[in-house]
């Protein structure tokens, strides 16, 4: 009897990928959202688990609003972003009464909720479950890893912006992954260069190449660079599917390449 309970809600999830950074504001939620959309366009069933309890950004980026979270025999039913149920999401954003409410919790409470998010959400059949994390290396990250140990974590994608203040923090995160035996699937350099829409001059506002250098330095795979694109920022504000709306942009190419590389390394 115990064995069948242990199989649990992650049993039919083929791959679990953490999206980590260490540094705040580099685009973890953005990259998680875009990767999820890219994988869906490639015909996969995807889930997003948003464990950023203090600043849940996923519901806003996918414009799922404030649906009610229902319970079923196996636990919580995730919220689906599309009628075909190809994208399942769970976030604390759905559980707050007031979306402006501040979640001012200490570690143990966060750990308890994340435990529930991992084991008590009826994900069903998924090709990939992406886990969007908050910055740092704290209770949330430890809770997610501990609870996912029973299942399997394929690895982590690390997101950074090119500048030194960011790569410094991401280096710590890489050490964290090595210490906790989480495979590093690759590094994504976000906000890498800005192309002026008027004159097409490229300005490296947040520097350039820092992510690639970090990958070389630590012996990790470099998945690719995503440019700083105001259209991407605006799409996320609106909850629009950027990849469908702007398939000709260089940002689209960058994200698609990263998603494809990620899929091949997962399926390998």
């Amino acid at each position: 009897m115990m064995l069948s309970i242990e199989k649990g809600n992650l049993h039919q999830v083929k791959h679990v990928v953490l999206v980590l950074s260490g540094k705040g504001g580099v685009g973890k939620s953005t990259i998680t959202t875009e990767l999820a959309l890219a994988l869906i366009h490639a015909g996969k069933k995807v889930g997003i688990l948003d464990v950023d309890l203090c600043g849940p950004s996923i519901p806003r980026m996918l414009r799922v609003g404030k649906p009610e979270v229902h319970q079923c025999d196996a636990g919580w039913v995730p919220v689906y972003a599309d009628p075909q149920q190809q994208l399942a999401i769970m976030s604390i954003g759905f559980l707050l009464e007031d979306s402006d409410e501040a979640v001012i919790w200490r570690g143990p409470k966060k750990t308890a909720l994340i435990g529930q998010f991992v084991s008590d959400v009826a994900w069903g059949e998924l090709d990939v479950l992406l886990v969007d994390t908050p910055p740092g290396t704290s209770d949330e990250h430890l809770a997610v890893l501990e609870n996912l140990r029973k299942h399997r974590v394929d690895g982590a994608v690390l997101v950074t912006t090119p500048q030194a203040v960011s790569t410094g923090d991401v280096r710590r995160e890489i050490t964290f992954c090595k210490k906790t035996a989480v495979k590093i699937l690759g590094i994504v350099e976000n906000m890498s260069g800005f192309v002026c829409p008027h004159c097409s001059e490229c300005s490296n506002i947040f520097s350039k190449g820092g992510g690639e250098e970090l990958a070389k330095l630590t012996g990790s795979v470099f998945l690719g660079s995503v440019p700083l694109d105001p259209l991407l920022a605006a799409s996320l504000e609106e909850g629009q599917d950027f990849l469908q709306a702007f398939p000709d942009s260089s940002t689209y190419t960058a994200i698609s390449q990263i998603a494809n590389t990620l899929l091949s390394s997962l399926d390998a």
Binding site: G22, K23, G24, G25, V26, S29, C54, G55, S57, R60, M61, S99, D100, E101, A102, V103, I104, W105, R106, G107, P108, K110, T111, P134, P135, G136, T137, S138, D139, L142, T161, Q163, A164, V165, G168, D169, R171, R172, E173, I174, T175, F176, K179, F194, C196, P197, H198, C199, E201, S203, N204, I205, F206, S207, L228, P230, A233, A234, L236, E237
Partner: protein
């Protein structure tokens, strides 16, 4: 036998009394930091909006506007300490005779950060309780000397660190930093609400990365949206302390550890930070009244 029962009754009474005292303890009492006149926290809720950059340049701006003031900088971001990089400081702090840590100084600002106590690549994988104790040390076991202002650079989020600091130290005011995007403002609003809940006055909002001017054609792009923070300030009923543009110079000087207020004091970016510092001083004075 009677003596025995009387003894038990007396013991249980004092036990009850002790229990009552324990329950009445409630929240920790706020204790000011020795030698520090006013504590200003720079927070957000959202990561990566420029809290550390703003905290560093605010501290330098406060000194630039009034050379007689002494300003200190505490980096409370235990997981991702950015102050060492931004202030070009490295090394383990020395201990004084009284076993207090001596802050590292650059540009006239004494600084303390977790970054001075650990290796550059070592992650701080700590749960909340350990973080609380570390913050206590970074606040109390430092020989700050006499400071007019202590600027505290907060980490993102609304969790253990924020609670520990606001519960343990009396704070003169909070500066909330945000970029114009909705996704950042959502978190900034939560940050502001948290300060209201713990009775810390919100001095105002700083809108960071407001606009980018192409160095070649001078075309202005609002990469992260337009004026979102100004609207939030109005909704929350707080003041706009300033508007900082997205300028390569700020990032370049930050990466080099030469904050823009001291390395390019005549630039518009440095001027923007000095204006924020002046607004902060004015708001602090207003609040005292």
């Amino acid at each position: 036998m009677t003596m025995y029962f009387i003894f038990i009754q007396v013991c249980s009474k004092s036990l009850q009394e002790r229990q009552r005292q324990h329950m009445a303890r409630g929240l920790p009492k706020q204790k000011p930091i020795a030698g520090v006149k006013e504590v200003i926290v720079v927070a957000s809720g959202k990561g990566g909006v420029g809290k550390s950059t703003t905290a560093v340049n605010l501290a330098l701006g406060l000194m630039a506007n009034d050379q007689s003031k002494s300003v200190g900088l505490l980096d409370a971001d235990v997981y991702g300490p950015s102050v060492p990089k931004l202030m070009n400081l490295k090394g383990n702090p020395e201990l004084t005779d009284k076993n207090l840590m001596r802050p590292l100084v650059n540009f006239g600002i004494p600084c303390m950060s977790m970054g001075f106590l650990v290796e550059e690549v070592a992650p701080i994988v700590w749960r909340g309780l350990m973080v609380m104790s570390a913050i206590e040390k970074l606040v109390r076991q430092v020989d700050w000397g006499n400071l007019d202002y202590l600027v505290i650079d907060m980490p993102p989020g609304t969790g253990d660190v924020q609670l520990s600091i606001t519960q343990n130290i009396p704070i003169a005011g909070a500066v909330i930093v945000s970029t114009p995007q909705d996704i950042a403002l959502l978190d900034a609003r939560r940050g502001a609400e948290m300060f209201r809940k713990v009775n810390v006055p919100v001095l105002g909002l700083v809108q960071n990365m407001s606009v980018f001017q192409c160095p070649k054609c001078n075309h202005q792009t609002h990469i992260f949206g337009l004026d979102g923070a100004k609207e939030l300030a109005q909704t929350l009923g707080v003041e706009m302390l300033g508007d900082i543009p997205l300028h390569l110079n700020i990032r370049e000087t930050s990466d080099k550890g030469q904050p823009v207020v001291v390395s390019s004091p005549d630039s518009p970016e440095a001027e923007a930070y000095r204006r924020v510092a002046a607004a902060v001083v004015r708001r602090l004075a207003e609040h005292l009244r």
